[in-house]
Every structure is written in structure tokens, then in C-alpha cells.
Subunit: 301 residues, 2 copies
């Protein structure tokens, strides 16, 4: 099955305590597509400026990513610059230039409208809603969001939440969106807003899947050479949705496996700048890492 | 097998955003013994003042805890008062009155010296070292510590680390003790100081066991009614050591199971003030919770 993703393509400049890079390929749709493409065909919707070098995404053409929904507009591509602090968990934004992304109005090509798996990356919740309205009977719609929309566009966000199956969110966002300190109480409140499946990303502390009443916890792979966390969340989402679409089955067992593969993909992402590690993986690398993650929680009482 | 524990007995006053309690039974040795006693006999070494009400620990006598090493001295019992902030992770100390604990000099009764399993709760590392010197061929010695000793008594702490098998520590202490931001790199540095087994406690984010080169991650049970985190770390240690002593086997499989039972015990601890939930558990309650924790990471690829 195909996975539809609507999100950003960007050039990111990143500084970490150890290294820096300028204008590297980034954006939620790019990270997502790269990761998902290891599992399923991808239909991408994004916008870039006329300064965008299409050769930067040559590898996506070779990885079964359909670019029919990629729009090239007059103007500059979305640019972001950030700096990671010593602990690599906190980051500060140095600048955000929305450029052509400012008036992004995602329109699905006709051939995308029957996509069974849909991922709404972190964009304005009104646009996310508008994307869902353009699809025909998708089997599983997942979305991302961020504190900016939770605090500034809560009603719009709630409308989008009411039409999706899954929300991928980090733990502080669960607290902001639900108004609850307790993660589990907060999660139940969010489930009542619509999505019965939550994937709560906790960075180095792993990820928690809540599917109806079932909890599944997946640790993060112990990465020692943490190089650049940018894109890890979208890469995680790409692994998750790509895996689900591959088996075309939404049940507890498949969702759990999807979280393991999502964690594996995210762990590769952070080992290099941009798509550098992600775009050259072998299936065998992914299997080895997913199995290592499972081994980390293996126990029989 | 018996477990020897050397630590504190105290009266704790605790405020949380939801409730408060004054002079409730506390102390590392008390929480540890209560938890360990569900698995193995315990030999306790601690000191209390002449204001200590021995009826407060009646339940320990009935739970196979040997009190031969409990010293009652003229003066007041160790008292601590703390307040938990909104998120229940951060706390501030309102006062610490060491009282008779200030000159605690643990002396092992002859009958304790052959204990095979030894736990050194968080006390001055010189005292911890002195306790190890009094034992005869223990099979497994574990210790706790805290930032106060890491920053103020590092050389003494390193001497103690060189004679123990396991260190139970939280994630920020790993960073302080190793000087490494990366938890896994830091853990390897600490292993080089002596203990080949580390149990890194991460509160709501679970616990990481590192045994030689093997990693095991155990999630925290999803507690919704988090009432009072005081004593959770010592309760965790009690479950861990009690379980190991029960089977008298130190290998990867038993260490992993011990961490699961440790997490189960800690989750009961935080559901009430003091020993209130811990002291009235049924073995069945513990089994159900340990199995629920294992179920939370169950996945087959």
C-alpha cells in the first residue's frame, strides 16, 4: 500500500557541540519519505522554491517516492537554522525563513486521493484537515503537531484530531494539549478528542504506543555517536507508517512492530547530518537494528 | 539467601501538590527491607533514636527482617522534610536533621557477616567500604550513592566502587560521575571503575540494566495515582536484591527478571505515603504487576 505524506522540504543549517552544516537537505516530508520508502511506496506533497536543487532528491526518485505532488514555486525554499546545546536534547532556533512554505496550500493529485495510509506532518492544522477532506476512505490517518498550534490554534487542531486515527506527539506536548501532568491521564483525554492510537515520542527515553487500552513501550536504541537529532521525529513517523502500509494491517501486534522499526529508523537518522545515514541503508541494517531493540527488552518471568 | 542492607531509618515529612504527611516512617533501609522481604530474608543494619516507636516497624519483624543490627541510641531519629513540585519529579528539601544518623558507624553482628547479598544504601562511601570489609566472601555487593558524594568525596567513592559488583544510580548521577553526556559512554567509564553491573534508574522513564556488554531496558509501570515518590529508589533496590537472593543466581536472565520485580515494587511504593502500600502486598499483587510490565514491551518481529 502507498503512504501519502504532506509536509515540508527545507534546507537546514545545524550546529551541534561537535560539528556544523549549512543548507543541508531537510524538512518533515523529506525525512518521512526517506524512511518510509524502505517499507512502502510513498506519495509526497510539498513545496520548494526555484532555488531548490532537484538533484538533492535524486535518491528519492530511485526509492519509489512519487513526486507528482511536489510543487516548485517562484521564491526561496523554506530554510531553518538551529543550534543544539551541550546535552543534545535542547535546541534553539537561530532563524526560520518560511519563504514559499508560508502560503503552502497542499492539493492532492488525483492519483494520490486513494492512498490508504496518510501522514500529516507538522503544519497548520487547518491545512491538515483540508488534506484529509481531499482523501477518499483512507484506512489509517496519522498526524504530527507542535506546541505552536496547541497554544495558538487549539480549536482548529481539535477539529483535525477528530478526523484522524493516530497522533504522534512528544511527552511535553501531551501535557500541553491535555492540561494533565500525568502522561497516562493526559493520553486518555487526547484519545477522547479523536485518535485512538497515540505514539508518544520521548527521545532518548524511547517511545510509548497507546492503542485503545493497550500500552507498548519501546526503548531508544543506545546511540553513542549522537550526531544530529534533526528530523528524528519525522524519520520515526516514516518508519512507523511505512511499516504499517507494507503489511496493511492495523492491530496491536502490527502497531508494536511498527514502533520498533520506527525507532530503528530514527536511530540511524541521528547518526549523521541530514539524510546522510538514512539514504544509504540496506534492509539488512534495518533488520539488525530492529532486532537489537527487541533484544533490549527481552525477558521471561 | 539473606540480603544484608545498611542504611537509614527515618521519619519523613512530605508535601506534594495533592497531600501532606508528617513524621511518616521512612529511610533507605526501611524501604529496602520492606520490598526485599517479599523475596528473601533480610538482615538490617541501621540506627534510630530513643524517640523511635518500635511499633512502627512491627510489620518488619513479621516479614522475616532480622533486626539484630538495629541500634537504638540516645537522641533523635533522622528526620527529613521535602516538598514535591507540580511535576512530581523535582523536589526541594525543607530540612534534613541527621540527629543520631550523623555519627552512624555500621557494625555487622557476627551472624550477618556471611550474608551472600549485600546492599549499601546511600551513605558516606567510607562507611560503605567499611561495611564491605566486615563481610566474608559475599556473592554480590550492590551500592547506591548520590551527587553529594560524587562532588564531595570522589576518591572515597571510587575506592568503594572498586569493591562492589553493582551500582544503582540515576541518569543524572551517571553523567556527574563519568563526566560524559552520553549515558552509554558514561556507563562504560563507570564500569571501568569497578562495578560490571549498573542499574540506571530514570524514574517515570523506567530503568536500564547494563550487565557487562548487555543492555536491558525495563519501562516503569504506568502509575496514574502517583502519590509520593519518596523511597521509590530504595524500594526498587530492595526488590532487585531480594529477587536475586531468592534464586541465588547472577546471570543476565536473572538480573533482567530482578529489574522487572524491582520496577513492580517501586510502582507500589509511589501509590501511597511511606510504607503504606508496600507493607500490605500479596505475592499475587506483585506477580500481576510484574507480568503487566513484561506485557508492556512484548513484541515479536
Amino acid at each position: 500500500m502507498s503512504v501519502l505524506v504532506v509536509g515540508s522540504m527545507a534546507y537546514d543549517s545545524v550546529e551541534t557541540p561537535f560539528a556544523k552544516v549549512d543548507d543541508a537537505l531537510g524538512g518533515s516530508a523529506t525525512f518521512f519519505s526517506t524512511a518510509a520508502s524502505y517499507f512502502s511506496p510513498v506519495n509526497l506533497v510539498a513545496v520548494v522554491g526555484d532555488d531548490f536543487d532537484m538533484q538533492d532528491i535524486d535518491f528519492l526518485y530511485h526509492r519509489n517516492v512519487n513526486m507528482e505532488g511536489l510543487v516548485r514555486e517562484k521564491g526561496k525554499t523554506f530554510r531553518w537554522k538551529g543550534r543544539y546545546l551541550d546535552n543534545m536534547n535542547d535546541r534553539e532556533t537561530i532563524y526560520t525563513e518560511l519563504n514559499v512554505f508560508e502560503h503552502f496550500n497542499p492539493v492532492l493529485p488525483e492519483s494520490y486521493k486513494d492512498s490508504d495510509y496518510v501522514f500529516l506532518a507538522n503544519i497548520n492544522p487547518d491545512l491538515q484537515y483540508h488534506v484529509v477532506q481531499q482523501t477518499r476512505h483512507p484506512k489509517f490517518v496519522a498526524m504530527d503537531t507542535m506546541n505552536f498550534w496547541i497554544s495558538g490554534s487549539l480549536e482548529q487542531l481539535k477539529r483535525t484530531l477528530s478526523v484522524v486515527d493516530a497522533l504522534m506527539i512528544n511527552d511535553s506536548e501531551v501535557r500541553d494539549l491535555s492540561g494533565e501532568h500525568n502522561l497516562f491521564t493526559g493520553a486518555r483525554k487526547i484519545q477522547a478528542m479523536g485518535p485512538k492510537t497515540l505514539v508518544i515520542k520521548k527521545g532518548e527515553h524511547g517511545a510509548l504506543l497507546i492503542h485503545n487500552d493497550s500500552y507498548f513501550f519501546c526503548p531508544a536504541f543506545p546511540v553513542e555517536n549522537l550526531y544530529d537529532p534533526t528530523g528524528a521525529g519525522d524519520t520515526f513517523a516514516g518508519g512507523f507508517m511505512g511499516y504499517l502500509a507494507m503489511f496493511d494491517k492495523i492491530d496491536d501486534a502490527h502497531l508494536r512492530r511498527a514502533v520498533v522499526y520506527a525507532s530503528a529508523m530514527a536511530s540511524f537518522c541521528v547518526e549523521a547530518f541530514s539524510m546522510d545515514r538514512l539514504k544509504s541503508l540496506k534492509n539488512e541494517d534495518i533488520e539488525i537494528r530492529a532486532n537489537a531493540i527487541v533484544q533490549m527488552t527481552h525477558v521471561n518471568l
